[in-house]
Symmetry: C2
Subunit: 437 residues, 2 copies
């Protein structure tokens, strides 16, 4: 865990807070979804265990500190600050919604309450980690919905923004409902089911396609999945029939998938391989999947890569990590930004999810329905073990099933009603009035 993996200004501000004697001021910073990404009806929260791990292990090594000392920006900073950094530990609190919870525009996903330096430094890391995983889990949920019960296999590591993003993307896609991943490390690290047997290179490495298929079946047995579009898919399907069992099935990675899948199904069925499956892949997104399902293409499983692992149509999340309140020697002060389009809402918050709407309230208010933000860390310690990945996945499936059907559709609809409690509205008005005054 590298403490330098942050924007420099988090560290210059840390120095500033320290040098101006404000280290003990307690700050609450809130991670909020400003707007839903274009084309989305919800954002499925993901990435919390990585945040917890980061906060619990955030340390500055002597090398980190030596580097900072070389920077012109730290020239005027006293040695005491660097001694402070050497002892740095996160001692604060983290409240968050559980992974797998769908959220909407304006809603907080988590807040950090800690001495201001400890709450400021994590901003950059936390925004990147949580936004990315939540984007991918949301995109996966759309693909899984479109697939109407057929398994969706996540294949996207090769297009992810760095290989490691592929591992965390696989994790997020699994929360969103993907059945398995091609990423072996995601399997080893998180226990996600893994899938995959052979690529075109396997076929190309043999003198004949027949020989490639035969050898794959020898090695993979009933897991053998033949990619049949290296040369001519229908001819390849006939070769699969000639070889017979054991095999799982075939994969079509290009071409006219509705027509090809029908022709291939017919060849397999007529050859007695009625139990052989057909997987489709090749730059699929939720819209293409929906069309294939609607057309009744005989496809048993979908493999998705690029469009999922980059959330290609919406590759960033409009989220902010904003200072919402301060506790200075026991005196509360509320803060907000008044920039156009980036107005922020003061005060720590709670979200109550009732049967037909969410109410964003002030933290501490009572409300009806499920209180989504729960204490995760208190005083720098984990309150209780986090839900498992499978629990997060189950929560996502359950929560999405409870949403009105219009919100689970691919098109953007009216949206889930989100209102602010009266107390929160009063706080906003009062704070903005004070700040503008």
């Amino acid at each position: 865990m590298n403490a330098l993996l942050t924007d420099l200004y988090e560290l210059t501000m840390a120095a500033g807070y320290f040098e101006t004697g404000r280290s003990a001021h307690k700050a609450t910073f809130e991670f909020t979804i400003r707007h839903l990404p274009p084309g989305r009806n919800f954002v499925l929260a993901a990435g919390l265990p990585q945040v917890v791990d980061y906060l619990l292990n955030l340390r500055f090594t002597p090398e980190d500190i030596d580097y900072l000392r070389t920077l012109a920006q730290f020239e005027r900073v006293s040695p005491a600050f660097f001694e402070y950094l050497a002892q740095f530990r996160f001692t604060g609190d983290l409240f968050a919604v559980p992974e797998g919870t769908p959220l909407f525009a304006g809603e907080p996903m988590l807040f950090v309450r800690a001495p201001i330096i400890e709450a400021q430094i994590p901003e950059t890391w936390l925004l990147a980690a949580v936004s990315f995983q939540s984007l991918i889990s949301s995109k996966a949920a759309r693909m899984v919905e479109a697939a109407g019960g057929r398994p969706v296999v996540e294949f996207g590591t090769r297009r992810a923004h760095t290989p490691e993003a592929g591992v965390l993307g696989a994790r997020a896609a699994y929360i969103g409902g993907c059945a398995s991943t091609s990423n072996a490390l995601a399997g080893a690290r998180y226990g996600i089911p893994v899938a995959g047997t052979a690529a075109h290179s396997w076929v190309m490495s043999f003198c004949s396609e027949q020989s490639a298929f035969r050898h794959l079946q020898q090695v993979m047995g009933e897991h053998a999945t033949h990619v049949i579009d290296t040369y001519e898919p229908l001819q390849a399907a006939r070769r699969v029939v000639e070889l017979g069992r054991p095999l799982w099935g075939v994969r079509l990675d290009s071409g006219d998938l509705p027509a090809l899948s029908r022709q291939v199904r017919q060849i397999l069925d007529e050859g007695g391989l009625t139990d052989a499956k057909i997987m489709a892949s090749g730059d699929l997104d939720e819209y293409k999947i929906r069309n294939l399902v609607a057309e009744g293409a005989p496809i048993d499983a979908f493999g998705v890569g690029t469009q999922l692992s980059t959330s290609a149509d919406s590759p960033s999340l409009s989220a902010a990590y904003k200072l919402v309140e301060l506790d200075i020697h026991g005196i509360q002060r509320f803060t907000a930004k008044l920039s156009p389009d980036k107005l922020s809402v003061p005060g720590a918050k709670q979200v109550f999810r009732d049967v037909a709407r969410d109410v964003i309230a002030r933290s501490g208010e009572c409300g009806r329905g499920e209180a989504l933000l729960r204490p995760v860390l208190l005083g720098g310690r984990l309150v209780e073990p986090l839900p498992s990945l499978d629990e997060a996945r189950a929560r996502a499936a359950r929560s999405l099933a409870q949403l009105p059907p219009a919100l689970r559709q691919l098109e953007v609809g009216e949206g889930w009603p989100v209102i602010l409690s009266r107390e929160l509205r009063e706080l906003i008005e009062r704070t903005r009035h004070n700040l503008a005054g």
Copy 2:
């Protein structure tokens, strides 16, 4: 370096090559840009040192191997394969274009030539690492071109797809011509100049904006950059004037940037702060930057985040890592894929860049101009130290300056001529004929 960070099928194919007695077959796999990303005139190669580091350090730990043994896909695989994995080293060759080289559709960026298992396993990792960095360096080059000499500062870690992608994104952006990064770890690890002093939270943490600015100047001196849109930008600019020096300048992060920057410039100038600079940020892309420059907005530097670090308009690269030839006991065999839209071109290649065109030739052909693909690893060893990051950045600047102006513009133009040598065309024809036959 985790050897499991790959698609499972690379490892099942590895098992298959091993079990079918093909481990000694030498394979050449080529990383090729299939198509330029939409809206791009070139792709600027980046990520080579990470590939070299990966290949040189690729090892399977006992835990990695234990995990693979638990998988159903490996049930039929002999113990000898796992013993092979325990001893695995990359012993092959890597040829690549230097970082900072602009490439075009159809061109290879690198090829790996090694015993087939060693060349197959890196596919996934290598595609993700090189594609991502190349996307970001290309996007950065466009922004830098649009900024017309004004520095472009990379701010994007918080929107990157994982925090670590932010570090590598900063590296790639620097190759593309960015002047500095906000990412402190990118500074420490790669020696990239770092920038950043304070965010809105700094301003909000004080009771008054004036007090926030004054304290920032005390701590940051001539590096102090005041973000002036927390509340009311013009009022904030007047406060900056009241405080005077030392300071670097101000940052506008929202609002009508052309109008605001003019008004702020006037306030600063009238207040005697003619040397105070104005930085603009807030979801800028190359088009917005070009417009600001064209309108003559008095902006001295641009800070870019989301649009750069996710390559938002083109978040994936259409690239492939394809088997192009085999050497089986000294006998060459050429391979190609015949799938519609994914036709691959057989044989190891060289690209010759002449004054007005590129020629893709067979590896070993003589040609006119600069031969872009050079040996990087031979027999698993580095041929010579890689160029430094600054050399890569300088190569990018020099190479881009040599392109026709139409290719450096933001709009997609006619494109650089790329032709295939006669020998390569003959090889393609012969190979496709053989495979289709």
